[in-house]
């Protein structure tokens, strides 16, 4: 496993990430234009979608839904479970306040598309191509975890406020009408569901799926070449993207001191636990070795794109520094550098092939 770790670390992708961190540490001048970052992330999301839809169509043509429904259910289940485990750990072990615990849980309940991409590349490079429906699972995982965490937060905050109000009214204080926060919750969920990442992935998934039936594979070929994740453009764009992720992470390294040891430990142990669940349940659902590894990686990963604005809207009291540091500066690099090989080893040990 150690060799596998080193081999993973010495490929261009993690090294580009490291270069970004290094550049920030020495106050270097590397600067990726925001528009390039946004452009690449649009490209990556569209890639996941259209190639995922294409592969889903092939899977469907070959096996119908027989191979897919179990992994899909497992993914949905994990999407609802992980925010709960994360919230529990943060609130009761870490003693964080409700808003912060629920906010961070929303991040860990959702997923990071780039972690999916890197994990997928890792397995392909090892010769263990993940099942073709994996991109579909990513889209399933994006949303429910955020919803569950935000609901937990809203309910817990409501109860706490009610308790406080009761206490106050006993003391004879007059309390204004509590503000309806439910509206914000719906708004936030609407924003996640119609947000850029989910709409691009699901939209292109549908497009890829339909056009696989409508046009011949030869005609689909230029799209596949452009968007395919083993290909030159994809890999090259990913180099630049990870360089920028490294810059952003490097910028936040100073925050590691602020967030304290509990959150650092949380950012490493929680993904290991969620990753194990992913690998195990994936194996139960009949996924192959590559598939179990990738499922573990995406379940363990934390969102830093879809979750933050939703949390900001619903739980404004939550400190965004905590959640961004945990998901971006701890869990993301951990997964890229060490997590993925570990999940691979877990899946292999469990018995996935």
């Amino acid at each position: 496993m150690l060799k596998s770790l080193a081999e993973n670390l010495l490929t261009p992708l993690p090294m580009c990430f490291a270069l970004g961190i290094f550049s920030k540490m020495i106050h270097g001048g590397i600067k990726i234009p925001k528009e390039l970052y946004y452009s690449i992330s649009i490209y990556l999301l569209m890639s996941i979608g259209i190639i995922g839809g294409h592969e889903l169509a092939h899977e469907y043509q070959a096996h119908g839904v027989s191979t897919i429904w179990k992994p899909a259910l497992v993914t949905l289940f994990l999407g609802c479970l992980t925010p709960i485990t994360a919230y529990g750990a943060l609130r009761y072990l870490g003693r964080l306040n409700i808003a912060d615990a629920a906010g961070i849980a929303a991040h860990y309940g959702s997923t990071s598309a780039v972690t999916f991409i890197v994990a997928d590349g890792f397995c392909n490079d090892k010769g263990y191509k993940p099942d073709g429906y994996l991109p579909t699972l990513v889209t399933i995982l994006e949303c429910p975890g955020i919803a569950v965490a935000l609901v937990i937060g809203a309910v817990a905050m409501g109860m706490q406020k009610a308790a406080e109000a009761a206490a106050k009214s006993k003391e004879g204080q007059i309390d204004g009408a509590p503000e309806a926060e439910g509206g914000n919750l719906w708004e936030a969920l609407h924003e996640v569901i119609t947000g850029q990442s989910l709409m691009l992935m699901v939209g292109l998934l549908v497009i890829g799926f339909i056009s696989t039936f409508a046009i011949s594979d030869a005609k689909f070929h230029p799209y596949e070449e452009f968007f395919y994740n083993k290909n030159m453009i994809f890999r090259g764009a990913l180099c630049i993207f990870l360089l920028e992720m490294g810059l952003v992470t490097g910028e936040r390294l100073g925050d590691l001191l602020k967030v304290g040891p509990f959150l650092i430990a949380f950012g490493i142990i929680m993904p290991l636990f969620h990753g194990f669940l992913g690998a195990f349940l994936g194996y139960m659902a009949g996924m192959n070795l590559g598939g179990c590894t990738v499922l573990a990686a995406i379940v363990s990963s934390a969102s830093y794109i879809a979750a933050p604005p939703a949390v900001r809207l619903t739980l404004p009291e939550a400190n965004p520094t905590l959640s961004m540091t945990a998901s971006l500066a701890i869990t993301f690099p951990f997964n890229i550098a060490l997590g993925i090989p570990i999940y691979f080893w877990m899946a292999q040990t469990i018995g996935a092939k």
């Binding site: 925001k34 970052y37 946004y38 910028e251 933050p308 900001r312 009291e317 961004m324």
Partner: protein, 104 residues
Amino acid sequence: MQLHTLKKVTIITEDSLKQSLLKKIIELGATGYTCRQCEGYGSRGARSDQFTRNVEVELICSEVVANDILTYVSHHYFDNYACIAWISDVQVVRGDRYTSTKKS
């Protein structure tokens, strides 16, 4: 060419609040606004990468509307969001167009 003395309101806050802020501004009686992205630094630290962008909203309106908007902003944004807001006096060409009828 006649000039009217009106208020210019400037609000700088988190980009993710942009849509709801703009909607609210119109509700509160503004006839228009201009906005752009910017970087910044303040009590909540640096806001200059893609996860922490600022938006700056500028609008010309009557003093009444200006007060309503600033009151709204200070009640809803200052506690939990990165935000700064100020007003200043400006002389506006054909300024009568920017004092809507919703609020006198």
